[in-house]
């Protein structure tokens, strides 16, 4: 595994271009574009203010930098460094900004979700979409980039509008039978829209592209409902994770539940492999232990090497007792993701925060459980292989594939041998879409020196470049 040197970073903004050739990272008001292979700086753009959001266009030719505080969006072209574009939302303010899939339009959501402004880079035309709903996932483009589904709220009722992305014409507009719509997502084939209600009610609605209600699914009532939803890449399954700690898989023919994946705290089936992360304690010679321990050693202690051990049959996982009287209780399936080849589903139960369950979708059975030493922050599948990257907020990244799993220490201390610097952990890792196996681990330092700001390390998994 190859690691780059550590790059500076602000606001944890670091993005691979969709074609996997470039890496954009933001350092305060500067945007740095690097080549992925050589990691040499290709372009350096200076924005008007500290960048709060950056996003590549789908064709990797443009990159937008949003400065929410000033209501500004700046767009840069990679091919023409002198080209620039500045969009000012003025007094309406800016709450969110994103590209349309064609890479020629920018959708800006104003503050208070008053409207969405669609700016075109091709023509002077500006389109407005009113009444967008402020919710968890209110905007969804189809994968082919043709349609946009938008959750709206009008007259205290939820609606969904389907727009044609080519000319932003309204194609369909229908109200949904939801109390308080929480999210929408297109199926990867772009023909079915999944709509789910707020967590207070378990309700998943499936709409056809033409606005027909295909099916409504409700697993239970009178309890906290849907927490996370994911389509399988083949559009064949819809996985719904809920607050009762179960994932329900709906099929695409009858839209009924095929199976239910419970997440018990004890794994009893001996066929299921349970990988347990274990600390590999470096053997410290007693004579060498100095008192007081040097700071460097103290820093290293937090990032001791770890390895996976295969635990034998009845394994009980660490569970968390949820605090009942607080909002957003730590229960239920907080995250779930299908592998790009449809074979696996990775889930995390928030009440068992240290574990990642990996389910075999072919057999519809539990396949592997990974138990980490610390709570799993996020996980992401490799876009080309059935390989899962997990991070727990430590200085390590964990990789799982059907062949096994490894824990990788992201180097940091080596370069930063400044006393007092401490690599607190990777907050997030994102993987390039077309460039397999390239990871960026974003890390925050809790260093005392202000110059030791957040940093990122790009690294490769060996052999991934040979992959087709």
């Amino acid at each position: 595994m190859n690691f780059s040197e550590v790059f500076k970073l602000s606001s944890l903004l670091c993005k691979f271009s969709p074609d996997g050739k470039y890496l954009a990272s933001c350092v305060r008001y500067r945007l740095v574009i690097r080549d992925v292979n050589t990691l040499q700086v290709l372009q350096l753009y200076t924005c008007l203010d500290q960048i709060q959001h950056a996003e590549w266009s789908a064709d990797s030719r443009f990159i937008l930098c949003a400065m929410y505080k000033r209501g500004l969006v700046q767009v840069w072209s990679l091919e023409q460094p002198e080209w620039h574009c500045r969009i000012d939302e003025g007094s309406a303010g800016l709450a969110a900004s994103c590209w349309s899939p064609d890479g020629r339009h920018i959708l800006n959501t104003t503050e208070f979700h008053l409207r969405i402004t669609v700016w075109s880079l091709c023509t002077k035309s500006v389109s407005y979409i009113k009444y967008p709903k402020a919710c968890q996932q209110g905007i969804s483009f189809t994968r082919d980039g043709r349609y946009l589904a938008l959750a709206e709220r009008r007259d205290c009722k939820d609606h969904v509008s389907v727009f044609v992305c080519s000319d932003w014409q309204l194609l369909r507009h229908f109200d949904t039978e939801t109390q308080d719509l929480a999210g929408i997502e297109w199926a990867p084939n772009g023909c079915v829209l999944a709509v789910w209600d707020t967590c207070l009610e378990y309700k998943v609605l499936l709409y056809s592209l033409d606005g027909r209600l295909l099916s409504a699914y409700c697993a239970y009532e009178w309890s906290l409902g849907v927490k996370s939803v994911a389509w399988s890449p083949s559009s064949q399954f819809l996985a719904v994770g809920s607050y009762d700690g179960k994932v329900r898989i709906l099929n695409h023919v009858t839209w009924k539940m095929i199976t239910e994946f419970g997440h018990p705290a004890t794994v009893t089936n001996p066929k299921i492999v349970v990988y347990k992360e274990a600390e590999k304690n470096p053997r410290l010679a007693l004579g060498r232990l100095a008192f007081p321990p040097p700071r460097a050693a103290a820093g290293a202690a937090s990032s001791t090497e770890s390895k996976y051990e295969i635990a034998s049959a009845p394994v009980s996982l660490q569970t968390l007792k949820p605090i009942a009287d607080r909002a957003n209780p730590k229960v239920g399936i907080g995250a779930l993701a299908f592998s790009p080849d449809n074979y696996f589903l990775a889930t995390r139960n928030d009440s068992v925060p240290n574990a990642v369950w990996i389910w075999d979708i072919q057999k519809l059975k539990l396949f592997v459980v990974l138990e980490q030493l610390s709570p799993v922050r996020s996980f992401q599948w490799d876009p080309q292989q059935p390989r899962l990257a997990i991070c727990t907020g430590g200085s390590k990244v964990y990789l799982w594939s059907p062949a096994g799993c490894v824990s990788v220490q992201v180097p940091g201390e080596g370069e930063h041998s400044v006393p007092g610097f401490l690599l607190a952990g990777c907050r997030r890792d994102s993987s390039g879409r077309a460039q397999p196996g390239s990871f960026v681990s974003l890390s925050v330092s809790s260093g005392k020196r202000p110059s030791q700001s957040p940093a990122c390390t790009a690294w490769h998994w060996p052999g991934c470049k040979k992959a087709p």
Binding site: G90, K130, R146
Partner: protein, 612 residues
């Protein structure tokens, strides 16, 4: 009587007195005070009797007392004490005989009474003890009753408490239910209120938003703008089109096209899946047919009516179906045909299996009658035998286990260990005996062999003598022939013989080793004999300790052979063939030894070849 008196304890006597008093009081008339007195006095000590009577009768009142006694006695039914008076006014005379009779009778009566009294007393005692026992029982039962009563009270109390609790709980439940109802109502009302509020708030919010929107949008905000250096071409390279009604229609069309495509794709997939399933079904059917077809012949031959025709039908169907491409047919017809044919075949298969079952059972029935098959009795006997064997084995295992456990348990127990040791000794003794017998047998065999060997040796000696004679004659002839033989040649001869001798020795030492290692056996014994023979042919080892010689011989053999060889080589100086021949004649000698000898032989030949 006196004895009894002394035996009775005062307490008892007083008691009996009481009883007597009681009886006299109830039964007797008050006039019978005297008898009572008598009765009373009869129990107290006998020494009082005399004084009592003396008090009753004095010198003065003999007459009165006699008359009184007479009176009394007559009233009790005794004969009068007086002689019967002949005359009226004549003084009646005391009849002594009558008195004595009376006395005797009285005494008898007294004895009887005493006996009765004794009986009564024992009975009384018995009854008393019975009474005591009963009283005890009564007390116990009373106690029990008391405890039971207490328990019952406790239980009742508990029951009452539980009931109370139950009532309370019921009340609580009711309360809770009410509460729940209330809360539900509250929740519902709150929910409606909340919804209402939410709606209100949302409306307000919407109003505000609207206003804000108006404010923000209406005011020609100069700031809302986009600065672009130059516009970029569309990603698809086309120019943007005007929005018209047509575009809308086109969009619709496109949407439906997409949907249609999706549905078509899905249909295709489903069709494919269907085809796959049909294929599987078809295959299954074919296999079924092939499975059933050999059966088909038989029923036809037997002119079995139903199955054969059905099968043929099914076959025809199958042929039809296989000829046509399945997915060309409309789903329903195919389905019908397929299901029908499958059903038919299934029926056939089922009947076939049933038939087979019947056959099997028939065969079973026939089999019992058949002689080839083991009859039931034999079978049972066999099983019984086997069971018995199993039982025995089990027992043996058990005993073994016990022994083992004992051995384990009594590792420290000296007595048992000694016993066990004895046991083992006995066992060992037996084993030794067996070994001894075996050994004896071996010995016998050995002796037989030795005898034969000696005979052979004698024969050999004779032969040898003849041979030596021959050799002598031959040598003589040679000598005569080679009178011109020079001195050098003879020296050469010597050299070779010395060489051959050493090599011989070496080979022998080498080959004698494996002999030592060999375990004791019969072959070894014969071998030893052979070695012995080489040493001294007629000499035989002492028969008594043959075994010792056997064990030692193997060790000695090499030495003995080594000892021999120099002796043997001396005469061999003349020619190596002799030794080799001699070795080869040794019966049962090892191959190694033999080869060693042959080696010397060849060597000698080589030497000879070197000779000019």
């Amino acid at each position: 009587m006196g004895e009894w008196m002394t035996v009775t304890d005062p307490h008892l006597s007083s008691e009996s007195k009481n009883i007597c008093q009681y009886t006299s009081e109830t039964k007797m008339s008050p006039s019978s005070l005297y008898s009572q007195q008598v009765l009373c006095s009869s129990i107290p000590l006998s020494k009082n009797v005399h004084s009592f009577f003396s008090a009753f009768c004095t010198e003065e009142n003999i007459e009165q007392s006699i008359s009184y006694l007479d009176q009394e006695l007559t009233t009790f039914g005794f004969p009068s004490l007086y002689e019967e008076s002949k005359g009226k006014d004549t003084k009646r005379e005391l009849n002594i005989v009558a008195v004595l009779n009376c006395m005797n009778e009285l005494l008898v009566l007294q004895r009887k009474n005493l006996l009765a009294q004794e009986n009564v007393e024992t009975q009384n005692l018995k009854l008393g003890s019975d009474m005591d026992h009963l009283q005890n029982c009564y007390a116990k039962l009373k106690e029990q009753l008391e405890t039971c009563r207490r328990e019952m009270i406790g239980l009742q109390e508990r029951d009452r408490q539980l009931q109370c609790k139950n009532r309370n709980l019921h009340q609580l439940l009711k309360n809770e239910k009410d509460e729940v109802q209330k809360l539900q109502n509250i929740i519902a009302s709150r929910a409606t209120q909340y919804n209402h509020d939410m709606k209100r708030k949302e409306r307000e919010y919407n109003k505000l938003k609207e206003r804000l929107h108006q404010l923000v949008m209406n005011k020609k905000d100069k700031k809302i703008a986009m600065e672009v250096l130059n516009y970029v071409g569309r990603a698809d390279g086309k120019r943007g089109s005007w929005r018209t009604g047509k575009t809308e229609a086109r969009n619709e069309d496109e949407m439906y096209k997409i949907l249609l495509n999706d549905y078509e794709y899905r249909q295709k997939q489903i069709l494919m899946e269907n085809a796959e399933l049909k294929k599987v079904l078809q295959q299954m059917k074919k296999e079924m047919i092939s499975l059933l077809s050999p059966q088909k012949q038989k029923p036809r031959e037997r002119a079995d009516d139903s199955t054969g025709t059905v099968i043929s039908d099914a076959e025809e169907d199958a042929g039809e179906l296989s000829r046509e491409s399945l997915w060309d047919l409309s789903c329903e017809t195919v389905r019908e045909q397929l299901t029908n044919s499958i059903r038919k075949q299934w029926r056939i298969l089922k009947s076939h299996v049933e038939k087979l079952d019947n056959q099997v059972s028939k065969v079973h029935l026939e089999g019992f009658n058949d002689e080839d098959v083991i009859s039931r009795q034999d079978h049972e006997q066999e099983t019984e035998k086997l069971e018995l064997e199993i039982q025995q084995c089990k027992e043996m295992i058990k005993t073994q286990q016990q022994l083992l456990q004992q051995q384990l348990a009594t590792a420290c127990d000296d007595d048992t260990t000694s016993l066990l040791r004895d046991c083992y000794l006995l066992e060992e003794k037996e084993r030794l005996k067996e070994e001894w017998s075996l050994f004896k047998e071996q010995k016998k065999n050995f002796e037989k062999e030795r005898r034969s060997f000696t005979e052979a040796a004698i024969r050999l000696g004779l032969e040898r003598k003849a041979f030596e004679e021959e050799r002598a004659s031959w040598l003589k002839q040679q000598f005569l022939n080679m009178t011109t033989f020079d001195h050098q040649n003879s020296e050469n001869m010597k050299l070779f013989s010395a060489f051959s001798g050493t090599s011989d020795r070496d080979s022998l030492t080498v080959h004698s080793r494996p002999r030592q290692k060999k375990p004791h056996g019969v072959s070894n014994g014969s071998l030893v004999c052979a070695s012995k023979l080489t040493k001294s042919l007629p000499a035989s080892p002492s028969t008594s300790d043959f075994c010792q010689t056997r064990s030692c011989a193997s060790e000695h053999s090499s030495i003995s052979v080594l000892n021999i060889t120099p002796e043997e080589t001396k005469p061999n100086q003349v020619g190596g063939e002799v030794t080799s021949q001699k070795w080869s004649t040794a019966p049962g000698s090892q191959e190694g030894c033999y080869s060693g000898c042959s080696l010397t032989h060849t060597n000698s030949h080589v030497e000879k070849d070197d000779l000019p």
